[in-house]
């Protein structure tokens, strides 16, 4: 059976990086003016040569996004269910080696958190856990989804990668989307940051999109954690992954997220820094590569960045997020996965969007489908 592993094995990280850095102004011109852009154009758009063209990229990204998505923003909220984790990830607050009290929400606690988010208007929810299969396995997730379905039209998960049959079971129970970030497509660097636990298996994670596609999921979210490796190469490999998945599992929708390393207790310094202009460049480059892909921004980013980026290609965003289990109501002081940056309330974000001509969309799915 084909999988992205075979595609990735045809590429050399260093050659890709070299090819990105060798792109010229002429390549950027050509990419900007091309009617259908390919991965070579994408390389040019994320290259240093494209930096002087950031304004043009933003203009195009804005126009294309408006054409496809209109003046709307899909709103969602993360709900952390558990911070139990048997992995060691050097950049994550939930890492097994962090000696912190662990918390997994009970049924009653899940309902409490749900009622809070519902009262804020959310109808699309993203369930997040660490990786602890015995405590927070497929049965726990099915149970949580059964509890949450009466509250929310659209349920997504960001949990450990699963087998195809496990995804099928979750889909039967109302799962809409799964987000699985590769963190980095650099095999050796991946190994350094994930030395222990199931997550240390690079290939199993890499092939998650294939298992999800075969299970017939509605939407798959991918991305890299910027800061672990060179962001340009990781962005290219994410784009390559996207194009492969779109061609292979053509009935599935795709979204891309752009997490940058954020501080947490005992945190890791980024190996490669990614500035705000860099992040904007990547977001616009994805939009110019693909007019339909959903682009999502979380509360990791600053107020000012978020106020501006919502007009330049982003199609979904969260607000007021808590990154700890029970963070909204049940146990606000439990350990967070990372510190968010934009702490404004949902109401303030909704107002900011409306004032700048964007309608926040709360419900855009029908759970009976």
């Amino acid at each position: 059976m084909s999988s992205f592993k075979h595609i990735l094995s045809k590429y050399s990280w260093d050659e890709v990086l070299q090819s990105i850095f060798s792109k010229t102004e002429a390549d950027v011109h050509s990419a900007l003016q091309s009617r259908k852009r390919d991965l070579e154009d994408f390389k040019a758009l994320i290259s240093p040569a494209a930096k002087p063209f950031l304004e043009q990229m933003a203009q195009q990204s804005k126009t294309i996004s408006k054409k496809r998505f209109g003046n709307t923003m899909q709103m969602y909220a993360p709900m952390y269910l558990s911070n139990e984790c048997q992995n060691i990830c050097t950049y994550c607050g939930f890492s097994m080696t962090n000696k912190i009290p662990r918390k997994t929400l009970s049924d009653a606690e899940i309902i409490k958190e749900a009622e809070f988010l519902k009262s804020k208007g959310y109808d699309h929810i993203l369930l997040v856990t660490g990786e602890a299969n015995k405590i927070v396995g497929v049965d726990y997730m099915c149970d949580a989804m059964k509890l949450l379905r009466p509250y929310f039209s659209n349920i997504s998960i960001e949990i450990q990668p699963l087998d195809q049959d496990e995804y099928e079971k979750l889909i039967e129970n109302g799962l809409y989307a799964t987000l699985v970030y590769q963190e980095t497509y650099h095999r050796e660097t991946y190994k350094i940051h994930h030395p222990k636990g199931k997550k240390s298996n690079f290939d199993y994670r890499l092939e998650t999109g294939d298992r999800l596609g075969r299970a017939g999921i509605h939407k798959i979210g991918i991305g890299a954690l910027f800061g672990l490796e060179d962001w340009r190469a990781d962005s290219f490999f994410t784009a390559l992954h996207l194009k492969y998945l779109q061609k292979t599992y053509w009935k599935t929708k795709y979204s891309i997220s752009f997490p940058r390393l954020r501080p947490f207790s005992g945190g890791l310094e980024p190996k490669v820094e990614m500035t705000d202009p860099d992040l904007l460049q990547v977001i616009c480059a994805y939009r110019l590569l693909d007019e339909e892909v959903e682009l999502s921004i979380s509360t990791r980013e600053s107020e000012i960045f978020r106020n501006n980026i919502v007009h330049l290609g982003i199609t979904s965003m969260s607000a007021e997020s808590k990154t700890n289990p029970g963070g909204y109501v049940v146990e606000p002081e439990s350990l967070k996965q990372f510190e968010i940056s934009d702490e404004r309330t949902t109401e303030v974000i909704a107002e900011m969007l409306s004032e700048t001509g964007i309608e926040p969309v709360w419900k855009d799915w029908e759970k009976r489908w």
């Binding site: 011109h29 050509s30 900007l32 003016q33 091309s34 009617r35 259908k36 070579e40 950031l54 304004e55 043009q56 933003a58 203009q59 804005k62 779109q246 061609k247 292979t248 053509w250 705000d276 202009p277 904007l280 000012i304 960045f305 106020n307 501006n308 007009h311 330049l312």
Partner: protein, 259 residues
């Protein structure tokens, strides 16, 4: 065409990306000369024109050449059942498991029936055929056909024999973008510039018949198509440069980054 830019379909590789149809020629001799001038390596033969068991069949004899492979088509059938029967007959008569599935119940415009085509292709793949379906430029149908295991898709540029060019260009571009199997633009290509255009937008090959067969000078036109297909392919692989646009003077959208 360059040896490194060959087209692979099933177990065969082709240096030429121009496929030819053999109908409508004034004689087998003219057809033979035109095919040779086109340097095509895959030519379609309507099974209905072949006399099974006749080793001296004029059309087949004219195409006996070590560089030319025959691609029998099922032209004339109206449903999946007849197409499967025709493919099996073709395999026996011509000794090839390659088949171009053409199912057009409509005798006027000869437009392909997508429902019967999908059914026939699924069955023919199971029976071990190398299946090449002639279809509308329908991107979803192409993915469905890919899933049942066809070796390429052959969407039309315009109604067969109409010589109108790429009327379906927007859909062809979607098909080319999405496809994991070669995309061969079939039908509607009326001039070498149409063929070059199809190659420029990324088609893997084109199939031409009427435009060559009914031209007053089929051999010269066949040669022109060969050159056009080569030119279009080179332009595609070398990447066409779009027009330059003016640089932006001000930065209203990105100013916030520097404040």
């Amino acid at each position: 065409m360059s040896k490194t830019d060959q087209l692979k379909i099933a177990d065969k590789t082709f240096s030429s990306r121009l496929f030819m149809g053999t109908g409508k020629f004034s004689s087998s001799e003219v057809m033979q000369q035109a095919v040779l001038a086109s340097e095509s390596e895959l030519v379609t033969v309507a099974l209905k024109r072949v006399e099974p068991g006749n080793d001296d069949d004029k059309m087949i004899s004219a195409l006996k050449d070590p560089y030319i492979s025959l691609l029998p088509n099922t032209s004339g059938v109206r449903n999946a059942k007849e197409a499967i029967f025709a493919a099996q007959m073709a395999r026996e008569a011509l000794g090839t498991n390659w088949v171009k599935v053409e199912i057009h119940p409509d005798p006027k415009y000869l437009l392909p029936d997508p429902v019967e085509t999908l059914k026939a292709c699924e069955e023919l793949v199971k029976l071990g055929f190398v299946v090449m379906p002639y279809i509308h430029a329908d991107p979803v149908l192409c993915k469905r056909l890919e899933e049942v295991g066809v070796q390429c898709v052959m969407p039309l540029g315009a109604p067969i024999g109409s010589n109108k060019g790429l009327k379906t260009q927007d859909f062809l571009e979607i098909i080319i973008e999405q496809s994991n199997v070669p995309v061969i633009v079939d039908a509607g290509i009326g001039s070498p510039s149409h063929a070059a255009h199809a190659m420029e937008i990324g088609a893997d090959a084109v199939l031409v018949n009427t435009a060559i067969a009914v031209s007053p000078n089929p051999v010269e036109i066949a040669k022109a198509f060969k050159l056009a297909v080569e030119a279009g392919r080179i332009a595609y692989t070398a990447k066409l440069v779009p027009q330059r646009q003016q640089a932006e003077a001000s930065s209203p959208l990105t100013q916030f980054l520097y404040e």
